[in-house]
């Protein structure tokens, strides 16, 4: 575990030095513009607009980083052969993978936290105060981070056995499908054969459910997010990430490097 921590810290350092956190400048500019504009175009719904815009921006920026950097975590190391010297050290391949995963999740956590602080500052600017119901915004940000962690795990898995381009397509595709698993589960069974119905139901449980992470509307309208959902999403992410990372480690441990 200590070795995975060493890899994670270096992955974080790489992201910082490769100026990944520069996206915060973009986010800051977006939120400043929104804060000025919202007062002039929206009457009485300033908070809703700001929260929706802010959370959407946090999610979109995080998605881009998690998909593209998630795929590059291993594929870049293999392409540049930087992991040859590393794997000759007393470090197991799963420790390397876990470290890469942990490093990018740490990067995303720092990035997301910084954007959340920015969002709260803009909310204070617009409303001149923060209320208890604004805690839902923090829960929404936490759910975005959980979602991003799961996406990183999936990107890592795909990059272990396919090309970077395909891994990006698979990850993005699975994310989009994962937004609609509820619809898949509720397909009209009366028009399908029992076998097909069972299959779609099974598929809806196997595919990652990204729908559950979306509490933006609740946060925007200041409604409290149920504690049970927080616990459920936390456990779901932990279990799903463990399964995906185990599969990634199984594939990567048998992979011949170039």
């Amino acid at each position: 575990m200590k070795r995975a921590g060493v890899v994670a810290w270096n992955t974080f350092r790489e992201a910082v030095r490769d100026r990944v956190l520069y996206n915060l400048v973009f986010f800051a500019l977006l939120m400043m513009t929104a804060a000025v504009a919202v007062g002039q175009i929206s009457i009485g719904i300033d908070r809703t607009v700001i929260v929706s815009l802010g959370l959407s921006a946090i999610s979109a920026i995080g998605l881009l980083i998690s998909v593209f950097l998630g795929v590059a975590l291993v594929s870049k190391e293999m392409d540049k052969r930087t992991l040859y010297a590393l794997l000759a050290k007393p470090v197991r391949r799963w420790e390397f993978l876990l470290g890469k995963f942990g490093g990018l999740v740490l990067t995303l956590a720092v990035n997301t936290a910084a954007m959340a602080v920015g969002l709260l500052l803009v909310m204070i600017y617009v409303k001149h105060t923060l209320e208890g119901s604004d805690a839902a915004v923090l829960v929404a940000v936490y759910f975005i981070l959980l979602k991003l962690a799961l996406i990183v795990a999936l990107a890592l898995l795909f990059s272990c056995f396919t090309t970077p381009l395909l891994a990006i397509l698979f990850t993005a595709g699975l994310y989009i499908v994962g937004l609609y698993v509820q619809e898949l589960r509720n397909l009209p069974v009366q028009v399908m054969s029992p076998a097909m119905s069972a299959f779609t139901k099974w598929l809806s449980y196997v595919l990652p459910n990204f729908e559950n992470y979306n509490v933006m509307a609740m946060a925007a309208h200041g409604r409290a997010v149920p504690g049970a959902l927080i616990l459920q999403n936390t456990l779901y992410t932990a279990v799903y990430c463990t399964i995906v990372l185990t599969a990634a480690a199984a594939v990567f441990s048998r992979r011949n490097l170039k």
């Binding site: 070795r3 060493v6 270096n10 350092r13 790489e14 030095r17 490769d18 540049k80 052969r81 930087t82 040859y84 010297a85 590393l86 794997l87 000759a88 050290k89 007393p90 470090v91 197991r92 048998r254 011949n256 490097l257």
Partner: protein, 317 residues
């Protein structure tokens, strides 16, 4: 008497290729050999012979189709074995956003060293490979030769018992090559086992206690550079100077460079040849024995392998 440091048994590596991976290319075929503790072992062969494949198999960067290997008595699948092994990859490339000092410190962290020990070792290694003044420059600004030096430093940073170097002289200027040679000899003096691959035969002859010659994925010979080749005298070489012209018959067989001539004759014909040359007015500069070199041995194997490959190709048509 310590046992062998590296034991390789019947190691074979095949790569599937083509549609559905139904065809197979053999990169290494039934390699069996040992590297003794404390020796410098050179693994020589032309490009694509299987040198790097063997080393990558030992480092578990790729996995064998069949066969096994042990280093310091431990199976290569045992990750703890890597505590006592240093490895320099071929044409190494490292995290270019790090400085040399940061990279060495990063690698040292995998060896459970204390912070003070890490700092001390990093400083010593940078000095040893001549990079102490470039220690704070990011690796993206390093030349190929400097990266090779960093690679060497990270390979010996943790004071390993066995050092495996894949083409350590590659990309280095004459000064750099000399420094690497000195480091290898220093490792030998310290009782380390060194195995390195190279296609520069003079380096192998100069440094190695034993060499293994690999051609076409097969080991063709293992032994001390002197015993591996036939050490019998293959003739005598006469170097002489001749001003003006002469019609001595031997001159037609000599190679001329300016006023100097080089002539190779059989050992029993030496004195007669010298008499004839002196009679023609030549001044004898030197007489030396001609012996088979490692290069000649190596080239014979490469040519035989090429001939065999083309014979197989012709019979397959």
């Amino acid at each position: 008497m310590p046992g062998p440091a590296i034991e390789i048994e019947n190691l074979t590596k095949e790569y599937p290729f083509g549609f559905l991976h139904l065809k197979k290319k053999t990169s290494l075929e039934g390699l069996s050999m040992q590297v003794e503790t404390g020796e410098v072992f050179g693994f020589i062969g032309p490009n694509g012979a299987g040198k790097s494949t063997t080393i990558k198999l030992l480092m578990r960067l790729i996995f064998p189709t069949t066969g096994s290997a042990r280093i310091l008595g431990k199976a290569i699948s045992d990750v703890e074995m890597h505590r006592d092994i240093g490895y320099l990859p071929e044409q190494p490339y490292f995290y270019d956003y790090l400085t040399a000092a940061e990279l060495l410190d990063y690698f040292a962290r995998f060896h459970d060293l204390t912070a003070a020990d890490r700092k001390d070792r990093v400083e010593r290694m940078l000095k040893k490979v001549g990079l102490e003044t470039a220690r704070k420059i990011q690796l993206r600004k390093y030349s190929k030769g400097m990266l090779q030096r960093v690679g060497l430093a990270q390979a010996i940073l943790h004071d390993p018992k066995v050092v495996i170097l894949d083409e350590p002289m590659s990309g280095l200027d004459p000064v750099g090559r000399r420094e690497v040679r000195d480091i290898i000899l220093e490792l030998k003096r310290d009782g380390k086992t060194v195995m390195f691959s190279t296609h520069i035969l003079s380096d192998a002859e100069m440094l190695c206690d034993r060499v293994g010659v690999i051609v076409g994925g097969k080991l063709r010979g293992v032994g001390a550079p002197g015993t591996l080749v036939d050490m019998k005298t293959q003739g005598m070489e006469i170097l002489f100077e001749l001003r003006g012209t002469s019609n001595a018959p031997l001159l037609s067989k000599a190679t001329r460079t300016g006023d100097r001539y080089q002539l190779q004759v059989a050992e029993e014909e030496l004195y007669a040849a010298i008499e004839q040359l002196r009679g023609a007015g030549a001044r004898i500069l030197s007489v030396a024995q001609v012996k088979a070199t490692l290069e000649a041995f190596f080239m014979n194997l490469v040519e035989a392998d090429r001939a065999q490959a083309s014979a197989v190709e012709v019979s397959g048509k």
